[in-house]
C-alpha cells in the first residue's frame, strides 16, 4: 500500500529513467562512483530506520561488513551462488543484530552510542586478528561476481542495473515498513517511550526490531559492494565510513524518508567535485558538517518546507 500520490510516483519514475540512462554518459570511474552511490543510498536509508526509535548507533558500518564478509565466505568457501548468498548475508547481519540487541538495548542514548561503537570496533578487530577465516588486514579477495544468463557483471553498466534493481526493491520495502503500523510504533517509541509502554508497546522489542531490519538491509548493501569490488577488507567498514553515514543522514535530515538520500547524493557529488582540493577535502566535509548542524539542524530536507513557509505563507512544519 504505497500511499504515494501519482505526482510523486511520476517523479520517482522519472528519476529511475534518468538513473537508467545516466551510465552511458559517464566515464568509467564515474560509472563506478554511481554504483557505489546507489549502494550508499541503501546504507543511509537502512540506517535511518535504525534511528527512527531515537537511538543513534555507531555499528551500522560494521553490520554492512558482517553482510559483506558473510557473502564473501559463503560464495568463496562454500561456493554458493551470489543469488543465494545475497539474502543469506542479510540474514546473517540481521541475526548478529538480534544477538547484539540483548546487550546493546539494555543501554540508551549516550551509553548505547558508545556501546555500539565498542561492539562494532571489537567485531572489526576480530576480522583483523583471525586471519582464518577473515583474512586479516588483507581481507578476502577473488570474490566472484554474480552469474546470470551469461551477463558479464564485471562490466559497470550491467552491474549498475543489478544494483539499481535490488536497491529499489529494498527501498520500497523499507518505505512500506515505515508506513506500516510498525513504522508508526517506531516513531511512537522515539517520541514518548513511556506513553507507548502504557498502551502495551514493548519498547525493547521495537528498538531491536528496527536494529535488526536496518542491519539486514545494510548487510545486503555490503554484499552488493564487495561482489563488485571482488575484495573485502576490515578498514572498508571502520569508524571512518560510519562517520560518513552519520554525516550523510544528519546533513540530509532524518525526519523524512528522502532526507538521508538527499544527504548522501548531494554530499557525494560535492565531494567528487572537490577532487581538485584533494588534501583539504576532509576539512571541507567537516566545515559542511558543522555548518549544517549550526544553521540547518533539521537537515537539507527542511529547505523545501522552509521555502514554502517563506513564500507561500503556509504553516511551517513542526
Amino acid at each position: 500500500m504505497l500511499r504515494a500520490k501519482p505526482k510523486s510516483l511520476a517523479g520517482i519514475g522519472g528519476l529511475l529513467l534518468l538513473l537508467g540512462i545516466l551510465p552511458y554518459f559517464l566515464k568509467y570511474h564515474h560509472q563506478d562512483f554511481l554504483i557505489f552511490l546507489i549502494i550508499n543510498v541503501l546504507v543511509v536509508v537502512s540506517y535511518r530506520l535504525v534511528t527512527l526509535t531515537g537511538e543513534w548507533s555507531l555499528i551500522h558500518a560494521v553490520m554492512m561488513g558482517v553482510g559483506a564478509y558473510a557473502s564473501a565466505i559463503l560464495t568463496k568457501s562454500f561456493d554458493l551462488s551470489f543469488w543465494l548468498a545475497l539474502p543469506l548475508a542479510g540474514v546473517v547481519a540481521g541475526a548478529s543484530a538480534a544477538l547484539l540487541s540483548y546487550p546493546l538495548f539494555r543501554m540508551t542514548q549516550f551509553y548505547f552510542l558508545i556501546g555500539s561503537f565498542a561492539a562494532g570496533e571489537a567485531i572489526r578487530l576480530c576480522w583483523i586478528h583471525f586471519i582464518y577465516p577473515f583474512g586479516g588486514t588483507s581481507g578476502i579477495s577473488g570474490i566472484p561476481p554474480p552469474e546470470l544468463a551469461g551477463i558479464d557483471f564485471l562490466d559497470p553498466i550491467s552491474y549498475h542495473y543489478l544494483v539499481m534493481a535490488i536497491v529499489s526493491i529494498c527501498l520500497i520495502t523499507l518505505y512500506r515498513i515505515e508506513k506500516s503500523h510498525i513504522g508508526l510504533i517506531l516513531h511512537a517509541v522515539h517520541w514518548k517511550a513511556p506513553l507507548a509502554e502504557s498502551v502495551g508497546v514493548n519498547t525493547w522489542r521495537y528498538r531491536s526490531l528496527a536494529f535488526i531490519i536496518g542491519s539486514f538491509f545494510v548487510g545486503i548493501a555490503g554484499t552488493l559492494k564487495v561482489h563488485y569490488l571482488g575484495t573485502v577488507t576490515p578498514n572498508q567498514f571502520g569508524i571512518g565510513f560510519m562517520v560518513f553515514i552519520l554525516i550523510w543522514v544528519i546533513v540530509g535530515g532524518y525526519g523524512k524518508f528522502y532526507g538521508a538520500i538527499l544527504g548522501v547524493v548531494i554530499l557525494s557529488i560535492l565531494d567528487e567535485s572537490f577532487r581538485r582540493f584533494d588534501e583539504i577535502r576532509p576539512a571541507i566535509y567537516g566545515a559542511i558538517l558543522i555548518a549544517s548542524i549550526m544553521f540547518l539542524p533539521s537537515g537539507l530536507e527542511s529547505i523545501p518546507t522552509k521555502f514554502r513557509a517563506r513564500f507561500f505563507a503556509s504553516k511551517p512544519a513542526a
Binding site: 515498513i177 506500516s180 503500523h181 508508526l184 514518548k192 507507548a196 498502551v199 514493548n202 531490519i213 513542526a318
Partner: protein
C-alpha cells in the same frame, strides 16, 4: 472478588519509604478517587499499579493475578492502562495517529504481514476503532491536527482517548483535571462518566477536590505513604483525620 486488590504494598527508594503497608480494593465498575496531600504517595501507588514501579514488599492482584514485576506493556496487555500527569501525548503525531498508537494491542503485526498486506483486516479494525473513540471523545473534527496544536482540554481528552482505545479494564487517570478551568473541568467530568458507563473501571489520582467529590462513589485517602482513610465523599468530607491532614498541609 475485587477487580484490583492492593495488599500491604510498601515501596522504598534507597532509604526513604514512599509507601508502607498500603492495602485497598477496587471493585468492577466504580470510579475510585485516590487522594491525599502532596507527598502522600498517590503517584507512587499509581505507578506501582501501572507497572512503572515494582513494590519493595506486598502484592497487587488484578483479576486475582499478581501483576507486580511485570513490564508496563505487559500490565497494559492485561487491561490496566494509565494516563499521565500533564499532557503526555505524541506532540508530533496527528490526533488520529495518536489514537492509532493506542490501538497497538489490536493492530500489532509482523513485518511480513505488514509487507504482504496480510494485516489489512487488523488495520481496518484498528481504523474503525480509532474513529469510534475519536467520535466518543468528541475529537473527530480535530483528527488531522497535530497533538501539539490542540487546546489543553482536547489534549487531555486525547490522552484519555489513547488509553481508552487500548480497551482498558481498569483506567488509571493521573490528575486529569490539573490546570483546567471550571468549564473544561465539567466537560472532562462528563467524559469520565461516559467512559465509566462504557464499562471501564476508573481510578483517578487528583488534587481537585470538587472534581473528585463530584465524580467518585468511594475515595481512598493516603497520607505520608500510609492509608489514612476510606469512604464515600460525605464520610471523607467530614473525617477529622482527613481535614487535619489537609489543614496541616496548609489547606488547598
Amino acid at each position: 472478588m475485587a477487580l484490583l486488590d492492593v495488599k500491604d504494598v510498601t515501596k522504598q527508594f534507597g532509604g526513604l519509604t514512599a509507601l508502607s503497608n498500603v492495602s485497598f480494593k477496587i471493585n468492577e465498575g466504580e470510579i475510585r478517587g485516590l487522594i491525599g496531600p502532596n507527598g502522600a504517595g498517590k503517584s507512587t501507588m499509581f505507578k506501582n499499579i501501572a507497572g512503572f514501579y515494582t513494590p519493595t514488599m506486598g502484592d497487587i492482584l488484578f483479576k486475582g493475578e499478581s501483576i507486580i514485576g511485570k513490564k508496563p506493556s505487559e500490565v497494559a496487555r492485561r487491561g490496566v492502562v494509565r494516563t499521565f500527569q500533564e499532557t503526555t501525548l505524541f506532540q508530533e503525531f496527528t490526533v488520529y495517529q495518536n489514537v492509532l498508537v493506542g490501538c497497538h494491542l489490536k493492530a500489532q503485526t509482523d513485518i511480513f504481514s505488514a509487507l504482504l498486506g496480510l494485516d489489512k483486516e487488523k488495520q481496518r479494525d484498528a481504523h474503525t476503532k480509532t474513529m469510534e473513540v475519536l467520535d466518543f471523545m468528541g475529537l473527530t473534527n480535530r483528527k488531522d491536527q497535530l497533538g501539539s496544536e490542540l487546546p489543553l482540554g482536547s489534549q487531555r481528552a486525547l490522552a484519555i482517548a489513547i488509553a481508552l482505545v487500548s480497551d482498558p479494564v481498569l483506567l488509571c487517570m493521573d490528575e486529569p483535571f490539573a490546570g483546567m478551568n471550571s468549564e473544561e473541568t465539567n466537560h472532562m467530568m462528563n467524559l469520565t462518566r461516559k467512559v465509566r458507563e462504557s464499562g471501564v473501571t476508573i481510578v483517578l489520582v487528583e488534587h481537585d477536590m470538587k472534581a473528585v467529590m463530584g465524580l467518585c462513589e468511594y475515595i481512598t485517602v493516603l497520607n505520608f505513604g500510609t492509608l489514612l482513610s476510606e469512604g464515600t465523599p460525605d464520610e471523607i468530607r467530614h473525617d477529622p483525620r482527613v481535614i487535619e491532614a489537609y489543614l496541616g498541609q496548609g489547606a488547598h
